[in-house]
Every structure is written in structure tokens, then in C-alpha cells.
């Protein structure tokens, strides 16, 4: 039976990587513009639907359609910025919250209108089935999803830290006006932030679609977890979100297995409240 415990541990880490990937986009958008995107879960749902339709219409396995899904979500992110977000850049926090909340309901309504409410899933993919490593059985698609998450996080971290565009985005995050004085067009930076932020959740959606069902409200399952991960890791900190994602995944799975499955989400929330009361800006966030 000891295999069962390690197996739970492994699957906790794997799902933790996926949480991290979902949270990275959210923390990037917040880091740049102090806006919490309540509709983040719904973009995940849209990405999963795209991956599903690529499979059904063109027979493309989610791994092959991943680049397409990411590009589509990047465009969706940029469009969202120019239509909905730009008018409220300097609006009070409450208006920002309700625009993103409005987008949440809008995406859900459109999804229900176009693809109705049935549960859909990609039955057979390249990564179906499981593999056993040292006696632990692990779903291949979870492994691939975790690997994808790590790669994507790494890319984003590298992009922000060492490319010209990335550093410009960091600058705008630090101080909008100062960055503008340096000739950085903050408007384009924000569009880029939304594009990349939503693109990362697109990658997460593409990876998730190989082992998780999709229906118009699937976003809400992941949305709250993403918030907790971002707040735990510290708003605006990409590495923070990455570490916090793994921790949340572990806490959820282990508390579910060791204590009581129906209380697992409560432990995640208690962990979050505990950390935030001691360090309000989370692990690595700015004050």
C-alpha cells in the first residue's frame, strides 16, 4: 500500500504544475496592471473547447493543436484588452472587478450558445493510458501536462527576465508613468501582457483537454484555485505562482487522502489564509 501514498504525492505534484501554469497568466496580468482577471477560468474553458474542436473537426491530437490553441488564445487576450480592459485601466477597482466578471458570464453564455451544455472529452489521445515508473502508475497525459507547464513557466520567466520586450513589461509593471518617459508604449505592453497571460492559460487548456472533460462551466472548477495560487505566491510574481501552484496541488491531494477528501479544498483555503495573514503580499509578491 505504500505505493499508494507515493502515487498520491506524484499526482499532487503533477496537478500542482497545471495549477501553476493557469496561475502564471493571472499573476502576469495582475503584476502589470493591478487587475484581477475573474474570467481567467473561462479562458481555460474556451481553450479546452478549441482543443476539442481541433480534435473532432481536423482530427488533430491536443498536442499537435496546442500551438494553434495558444495563438488563438493570444489573439483573444489582445482583443479582450482593446475592447473591454483599456477603457477601465484607471477605473476604480470595483469597476475592473465587474468588467472581468462580466466577461466571465459572457464567455460562459457564448460557450453555452455555440456548443450547448453537454460534457465533452477527447476519448483517445496520444497521451492516453498510463505508465509505471518504479511501480507508481501515472497518467501519461498528466506527465505531459506537467512537463508542458514547467516548460511554459520557464519560457515566461526567461522572457520577462532577459528579453527587451520582457524587461519593458516589467518596467511598465513597476511604474507606468516612468516607463512611458522611457519611450515604452505602455498601451502595447498591456495588450501584450493580456495576450501572453491568456496564451498561457491557452497552453494549460490544451494540455488539460487530453485528460479532463469540458463543458461551459468547467472554468469555475479551476478559477478559485488559480486565485488562491496567485495570492499565495504573491500577486505579480511569476516564480511565486509557480511554487505556490505545486504547494496547493500537494496540499489538496494530501489533505484529501490523509484527512478527508470532502474537506480537501478547505485545507487549501486555510493554508492560503494562514500565509496571507502573516505575509499579506504572499511568498514573493511586492508589498
Amino acid at each position: 500500500m505504500e505505493g499508494v501514498f507515493t502515487q498520491t504525492l506524484v499526482s499532487g505534484i503533477l496537478i500542482g504544475f497545471v495549477y501553476a501554469l493557469i496561475a502564471v497568466g493571472l499573476t502576469m496580468i495582475f503584476g502589470m496592471m493591478d487587475i484581477v482577471n475573474f474570467a481567467h477560468g473561462e479562458y481555460l474553458m474556451v481553450a479546452m473547447y478549441f482543443a476539442y474542436w481541433f480534435f473532432v473537426l481536423f482530427g488533430m491530437d491536443p498536442l499537435y493543436s496546442l500551438p494553434w490553441v495558444t495563438v488563438l488564445l493570444f489573439l483573444l487576450g489582445v482583443i479582450t484588452y482593446y475592447i473591454f480592459i483599456r477603457p477601465i485601466i484607471n477605473a476604480p477597482m470595483l469597476s475592473q472587478i465587474f468588467v472581468t466578471f462580466g466577461i466571465l458570464i459572457l464567455l460562459r453564455g457564448v460557450a453555452q450558445y455555440l456548443w450547448n451544455a453537454d460534457y465533452r472529452m477527447i476519448p483517445q489521445t496520444l497521451t492516453s493510458g498510463n505508465v509505471s515508473i518504479f511501480g507508481i502508475y501515472v497518467g501519461v497525459s498528466q506527465l505531459v501536462a506537467a512537463a508542458g507547464a514547467v516548460i511554459c513557466n520557464g519560457l515566461i520567466f526567461w522572457f520577462l527576465k532577459s528579453t527587451r520586450m520582457g524587461m519593458a513589461m516589467e518596467a511598465v509593471a513597476e511604474d507606468k508613468e516612468a516607463a512611458r518617459l522611457m519611450g515604452i508604449n505602455s498601451d502595447r505592453m498591456f495588450a501584450l501582457a493580456w495576450g501572453i497571460g491568456i496564451a498561457t492559460v491557452g497552453v494549460a487548456g490544451g494540455l488539460l483537454s487530453s485528460f479532463y472533460y469540458v463543458f461551459p462551466e468547467v472554468g469555475s472548477n479551476f478559477c478559485l484555485v488559480a486565485f488562491v495560487v496567485v495570492a499565495l505566491g504573491g500577486f505579480g510574481s511569476v516564480p511565486g505562482a509557480f511554487i505556490a501552484g505545486i504547494i496547493v496541488g500537494l496540499v489538496e491531494v494530501l489533505s484529501g487522502y490523509l484527512v478527508a477528501p470532502s474537506l480537501k479544498f478547505m485545507f487549501v483555503l486555510l493554508l492560503y489564509l494562514g500565509v496571507v495573514f502573516i505575509r499579506p503580499q504572499g511568498f514573493m509578491g511586492r508589498k
Binding site: M1, Q7, R120, N130, Y137, N221, Y257, K264
Partner: protein, 419 residues
């Protein structure tokens, strides 16, 4: 900009205070299901089932079913059934509000609904208050018929009987098929539906002398069920009895395969496991699941009428018929038959006619012995459950053995032994 919004606002207020005019000779029946929200896909199917029944009643079809051969209700000068849909979104207070709206504003003569047991409870209460017959076609929580309501009738058997069926089935397996049956563990969604099922499963396990190693509740809409299934595995049971709606049914099957856990048998309490989406999503991984059911297409070998109705439903709804949709279909037939016999839409007369209902087994698409309501609890006493097994992507009846079309495949094959 603000001109438009103000106009829109005024329109909203006016619209909400007008009551609708309606045609004369039609029998208005309210149908309340979860048309939006997490159970929208089931709700839409239930509505299509009721609509198919209304269509058969309103037009001539040669089916050995009450009111099929005639168009409309003959005793009421051929009046047509008109379905007024209501969406309760899975919320008890919305169910109550919809029931009141249909009764007071839409002037319905009777109501069918609500699938979610908690919503049926409040909606039935509203109908009781206004003295309007409420026919419950698909809620399985036993408490609904224990509240002594005068206007509440239920055609479908409830969990009390379904749970007992599981253990009669296990006993039959032991006696007739000489299969050894080991210990049991329960996995159920932490909602009214799941909690009720667990209570009865534990009660009957004790009564029939089966050992329940443990019961694992899980929160609805989980992002992953690994910890639950691993905890289940730690009890190392031979049989798993599961109660889940569609989303978690799919996720749990995927997780069983992932962690390579295959019990000797997986017995499900209907709901998610009988949703056509399950087979569509899981493909061959759904094979060998045993589930309690009230209807199965392969029963048409003994009753061809079932196949014709099932095909009509598939054409109409775009997805195969399932136990739930068959029950909403049957609910409408039973109600229409009662109204026809009552020769009036007057509530008290419909109630009396419902109490005298005695539809024969061969007139139903269900494997029941007929429809007859217990005078005190108004529960259909002739209801029966069957057990189906998914074999090669199809639901096949495997119990009771006299009705079964396929033999039970036992035990549940290991994941790697499947192709």
C-alpha cells in the same frame, strides 16, 4: 447612450407585468427541469422526453400506448397537450418560484418535474399549496413521498428500492452464477443525492449481510479525484458502489484507469453513469460498468415498441435515449392518461383519476409491471429497477436474469488486459 438604456429599462418593467394570452382548447402542462447550470445537458434531454410524449399524444401513432392512436385527448374533444417549460437552474427557491409562475401566470393544470430531489421538494410544496397535481418523474430521494402531500405523485421507483435491488442482484449472482462477492466501499458526491444513496446502501448492506469497508464523500466539481480514489483503494474493497453526476463520473473513470485501479466490480447508482455523454467521452474505457437503471434500449427484444420510441427520441434530441429521458417520457404519458380519464382539467378530478391509474406493463416503454399509485404515499408500487452493464459501448440489461439480454461480465477486467 443613456436614452437607450432608459428605454430598455422601461421595457423590462412593462414586459414583466403583462400576463400572456393563450389559445383556447389546449391542456397546459408545466414541465420544470434544470435547463441551465451544471445539469443543463440532463435537463434538456428530460424536456425532449416529455415533448416526445406530448407529440405522440397529440398526433396519431400506432403504438400500444395510452392515447397514442388518437390525436389529442379524445375525452376532451381532442384538446392538444401544450408543454410550458420552466428552468430551475438546480436551485430550490427558483424551483418554487417557477412552480408558482406556471400555476398562477401560465395557468397550467398540472406540473411534471424536477429531477433534482431538493428542487422537487420545494416545487412540490408550492403545488401542494395551490392544489395542483405534481407528477414527479425522475427524482429518486425517498423522503419526497414521505411528507404526506395530497397532490404529489411519483412514477419512478426511489433509492430505497434501487439500493435494495443492488443487494438482491448480488445475492442472485452468488446463488445462480456461483460468483463470490467480497467487501464493498462507497464513493459518492457530497450532495443530497449522494448522501441519501449512501444511507440506503449502508442500511441494505447490513440487512443482506455485506461488509462496507468505508464510504468516501467527494466535493462536487472537483479538479481532481486522485485523493478520493486512493483513499478508496486503501480500504482495498472488491466492489465499489458509486453515486455521481456525469462530470465526476467521467473524471473518476479516467482516474481509475490512470492509477491502474480495477475493482472486481463497479456498480453505479444511475445518474452520471447512464448519461450518453459518458460513453461518448470515455469510449471503450466505459465498458463493464454496472449501473442500476429503469430503462434500456435492448429491452426492445421483448417489447419492439421501446426501439421505435428510442429511435424517435434520438431523431428529436440528437442523442440516444437514457433511463432519465424514458422516465420523463413515461411521466407525461401517465399524466395525460389521467387527465383524459378525468374528462376535465379540474385539479380534484385529475387527482382522483391519477389515484385510479392502472396502466399495464405492455403499454409502457419501462420494464415495470405497470403504473399504480399507493393511495397513501402516491408512490408507483409497480415500479421496478433493472441493472445494465456497458458492453462494447452499449447499455445491456443483465438483471433480473429473466429479462436480461446479455450475461454479466464479472469480474471487471484489469485495465492492461483490455486491448
Amino acid at each position: 447612450m443613456w436614452k437607450i438604456l432608459r428605454v430598455f429599462f422601461v421595457a423590462v418593467m412593462v414586459l414583466s407585468f403583462t400576463s400572456l394570452a393563450y389559445a383556447q382548447n389546449e391542456i397546459r402542462i408545466g414541465v420544470i427541469f434544470p435547463l441551465t447550470g451544471p445539469l443543463a445537458t440532463t435537463g434538456q434531454g428530460l424536456l425532449k422526453g416529455a415533448e416526445l410524449a406530448a407529440d405522440i399524444i397529440n398526433n396519431k401513432y400506432n403504438l400500444n400506448m395510452p392515447l397514442a392512436k388518437t390525436s389529442g385527448l379524445p375525452n376532451l374533444k381532442g384538446a392538444k397537450i401544450k408543454i410550458i417549460p420552466g428552468d430551475h437552474q438546480g436551485k430550490p427557491e427558483v424551483g418554487m418560484a417557477e412552480a408558482e409562475r406556471l400555476i398562477t401566470q401560465e395557468k397550467v393544470v398540472a406540473i411534471i418535474g424536477c429531477y433534482n430531489s431538493a428542487v422537487t421538494a420545494t416545487a412540490a410544496q408550492a403545488a401542494e399549496r395551490y392544489g395542483i397535481p405534481f407528477l414527479n418523474d425522475s427524482s429518486s430521494s425517498p423522503s419526497l413521498t414521505e411528507r404526506g402531500f395530497k397532490w404529489f405523485f411519483r412514477t419512478t421507483p426511489h433509492d430505497d428500492m434501487f439500493s435494495e435491488n443492488f443487494f438482491i442482484f448480488l445475492n442472485d449472482l452468488k446463488k445462480k452464477k456461483k460468483i463470490t462477492v467480497g467487501s464493498i466501499a462507497l464513493l459518492y458526491e457530497n450532495t443530497l443525492f449522494g448522501a441519501d444513496s449512501r444511507k440506503y446502501q449502508e442500511m441494505y448492506a447490513k440487512k443482506y449481510g455485506y461488509e462496507i469497508r468505508g464510504a468516501v464523500p467527494y466535493p462536487a466539481k472537483s479538479t481532481q479525484l486522485t485523493s478520493e480514489i486512493q483513499k478508496l483503494r486503501s480500504y482495498n474493497p472488491s466492489i465499489i458502489m458509486q453515486t455521481s453526476y456525469t462530470a465526476d463520473a467521467i473524471l473518476s473513470m479516467k482516474t481509475y484507469k490512470e492509477v491502474n485501479f480495477a475493482p472486481t466490480a463497479l456498480i453505479a447508482n444511475n445518474a452520471g453513469f447512464n448519461d450518453p455523454d459518458l460513453i461518448k467521452s470515455l469510449g471503450r474505457d466505459a465498458d463493464y460498468i454496472l449501473s442500476r437503471e429503469v430503462w434500456a434500449k435492448d429491452l426492445s427484444k421483448k417489447k419492439p415498441m421501446i426501439k421505435t420510441v428510442a429511435d424517435m427520441f434520438e431523431r428529436k434530441a440528437g442523442k440516444p435515449m437514457s433511463g432519465d429521458y424514458a422516465r420523463s417520457f413515461t411521466g407525461m404519458i401517465v399524466l395525460a392518461d389521467a387527465i383524459n380519464r378525468a374528462k376535465s382539467t379540474e385539479p380534484a378530478k385529475i387527482q382522483k383519476a391519477l389515484l385510479e391509474t392502472n396502466i399495464k406493463a405492455d403499454q409502457l416503454i419501462m420494464p415495470w409491471d405497470g403504473v399504480k399509485f399507493d393511495p397513501k404515499t402516491h408512490q408507483n408500487v409497480l415500479g421496478k429497477g433493472i441493472i445494465v452493464q456497458i458492453q462494447k459501448g452499449e447499455y445491456c440489461t443483465v438483471w433480473p436474469f429473466n429479462v436480461a439480454t446479455k450475461d454479466v461480465i464479472w469480474p471487471f477486467p484489469k485495465w492492461e488486459s483490455r486491448k
